[in-house]
């Protein structure tokens, strides 16, 4: 069947706004999440999901885009933003037991959540951004794929889903430093996308109004059958022992070019022993 309907989970993260000063907080040196927003890099994943389902007739044709987040109460704002942009429904995994989860613990919880969602309707694609703009490690998509035993198609700069006699495949282009690769896997798959893949849309008035009627399901670790000891600080395999604020850079010598600035620049480099 050509263009058969897709059930897509998009993972979204509520992160501190990168335009503001960001801080670590508390004894565990976790990220201070006040003044947080939907991670900019997740908007590319959501846009990729919306484009895939729109090409297949949208919600009317049985397609679904579920925005999923994990985080404290305030993190639901990331899901709500995703609903305004165009996701069809939202899921918020929220539990005190999850606080302080590292990538491994987060991937365990999200894998359990995706398994929890699957019986009602199998998930075809799990889309994520290329990194979170707070942790910036890019570990999660690979760990989630490993935990779910699904193919990992990561750092996609382009994405197509093909249907070949009922066998649905995702094909991505992955641009490395020395080469560009085309990688293919059958669905279901975990796919992370880069900021090169598309230009994310903004929520419009209609989308903002429509989002008010969309459902957000809140789940706890008990709901997804995860032992609290496996997640959060207890279930993490890494710990941040200490954190120091890096002294902010200060401005040095600033000159106006009066015709010899290039020569003064070379003098500066020579004085710094950089030539």
């Amino acid at each position: 069947m050509e263009n058969s309907a897709l059930n897509i989970v998009v993972l979204v993260k509520h992160v501190p706004d990168v335009q503001l000063n960001r801080h670590l907080t508390g004894e565990e040196n976790t990220v201070d999440r006040s003044d947080s927003i939907l991670s900019e890099l997740d908007e590319y994943a959501l846009e990729a999901a919306l484009q895939l389902v729109e090409a297949r007739g949208g919600v009317a044709a049985g397609n679904n885009v579920v925005a999923v987040t994990m985080g404290p109460a305030g993190a639901v704002a990331a899901v709500k933003k995703a609903l305004q942009i165009g996701a069809f429904e939202g899921v918020h995994l929220s539990d005190e037991a999850l606080a302080g989860s590292d990538a491994a613990a987060t991937s365990l919880a999200l894998a359990a959540l995706i398994r929890h969602l699957s019986p009602s309707r199998p998930v075809d694609l799990i889309l994520t951004g290329m990194a979170s703009t707070d942790g910036e490690t890019s570990l999660l998509p690979a760990q989630l794929a490993a935990r779910l035993g699904l193919p990992q198609l990561t750092f996609a700069a382009s994405l197509e889903v093909t249907d070949d006699g009922g066998v649905r495949r995702a094909v991505i282009r992955r641009d490395g430093d020395s080469q560009s690769e085309v990688v293919q896997a059958t669905l279901p798959a975990v796919i992370s996308v880069t900021d090169q893949i598309n230009s994310p849309r903004y929520p419009n008035f209609k989308g903002i109004m429509a989002a008010k009627k969309k459902t957000v399901t809140t789940l706890t670790v008990a709901d997804i059958a995860v032992d609290p000891a496996q997640v959060g600080r207890a279930g993490s395999w890494t710990v941040v022992e200490s954190a120091q604020v890096r002294p902010p850079r200060t401005a040095g010598t600033i000159i106006n070019d009066e015709g010899n600035a290039g020569l003064l620049l070379v003098d500066f480099l020579a004085a710094q022993k950089l030539l």
């Binding site: 035993g149 193919p151 080469q179 990688v183 059958t186 022992e241």
Partner: protein, 322 residues
């Protein structure tokens, strides 16, 4: 002394003058400082590479060149590394900090139930890891709480030098049985990019970067980079405009660099760019607009036209170098 695994991916293909990539030399120096360096090598082992690995202190080499390693994305390499790690129970597994190696580390962490720490810039004998977080605004010390720590290390985190006493490594060819889930993401095409002859952006000692102010002409940046032996970087505005390839992008959605010298030309220095370069040792900025935020973080700033300042500096460097 505990084994410390160093993952080495196809050293023969790195294209540099030395038998081993700089990143491999650095990882081996770190491994020697914290344990017994054991190499896990994906790809062929030439006599030259064997000698170089020994010179850098590798006591053993586990090698695999099964075709699956290179036909599927990431997972088979992670399986190979997991296979060796499960056998040796190392204190640490070290990898370079490339996108692919971070993903290999991520998967090995799950397979071994081991903590993974990426973007390390330092490592002590107790396997405490130093790294920068929140775009360089904090330096943290992190550690894995598991028996094995999986750590990806940024370039220049340690001085690469040969071991005081070269080793004569034992070589064991490993046969790996890959799970079906690891043979799922098949690489169906590869297109090589032409080599620029310039150093790799994240490894370069000097980076010269251009932004919106280049107005489509990266010539002055490239010429200055070449007299300095530098890599060429760019802001997102310049890569989005298509003036230079995306892989040159420095910033939040591009590369993070910490060179000895970063020369920023025609880049305003908004947070997107600043995130990727503010841990550079020395920052020089050239911009027409005196109000550009880049001047707040520049050690030496020139308010002026980059199309006259850069070529003048290039000519002067050529003259001084004779």
């Amino acid at each position: 002394m505990s084994a410390v695994l160093v993952f080495v991916d196809q050293p023969s293909a790195h294209g540099g003058a030395a038998a081993l990539p700089q990143s491999t030399q650095e990882l081996l120096a770190l491994a020697r400082a914290v344990g017994e360096p054991v190499v896990v090598l994906a790809g062929p082992l030439s006599g030259e590479v064997l000698t170089a690995l020994g010179a850098h202190g590798a006591s053993r080499i586990y090698q695999c060149e099964q075709s699956e390693l290179f036909e599927y994305l990431v997972a088979p390499k992670a399986d190979f590394l997991t296979h060796v790690a499960a056998q040796l129970q190392p204190a640490a597994v070290l990898l370079e900090n490339s996108a692919e190696c971070k993903e290999i580390a991520a998967r090995v962490g799950i397979a071994l139930s081991a903590g993974v720490i990426s973007d390390a810039v330092g490592l002590d004998a107790g396997l405490n890891v130093q790294k920068s977080v929140l775009a360089g605004s904090y330096t943290v010390t992190a550690r894995a709480t598991t028996a094995t720590a999986v750590i990806t290390v940024k370039p220049h985190s340690v001085h690469a030098e040969e071991a005081a006493v070269p080793a004569l490594p034992e070589v064991e060819v490993v046969s790996v049985i890959f799970g079906p889930a690891s043979l799922a993401a098949r690489i169906i095409d590869r297109t090589g990019k032409p080599a620029s002859g310039r150093p790799e952006l994240t490894e370069a000692r000097i980076v010269v970067a251009g932004g919106r102010g280049m107005e489509g002409n990266f010539g002055p940046v490239e010429e200055l980079a070449d007299v300095l032996g530098a890599a060429v970087g760019a802001s997102r505005a310049a890569t989005d405009a298509g003036w230079i390839e995306h892989s040159a992008q420095v910033g939040q959605t591009g590369k993070t660099v910490s060179p000895q010298l970063y020369i920023s030309a025609g880049i305003s220095g908004a947070i997107q760019q600043k995130s990727g370069m503010q841990t550079s040792k020395v920052i020089v900025a050239v911009n027409r607009d005196a109000e550009s935020p880049v001047f707040d973080i520049a050690d030496f700033g020139i308010v002026g036209d980059l199309f006259t300042v850069l070529p003048q500096a290039t000519e002067e460097i050529k003259r001084r170098k004779g």
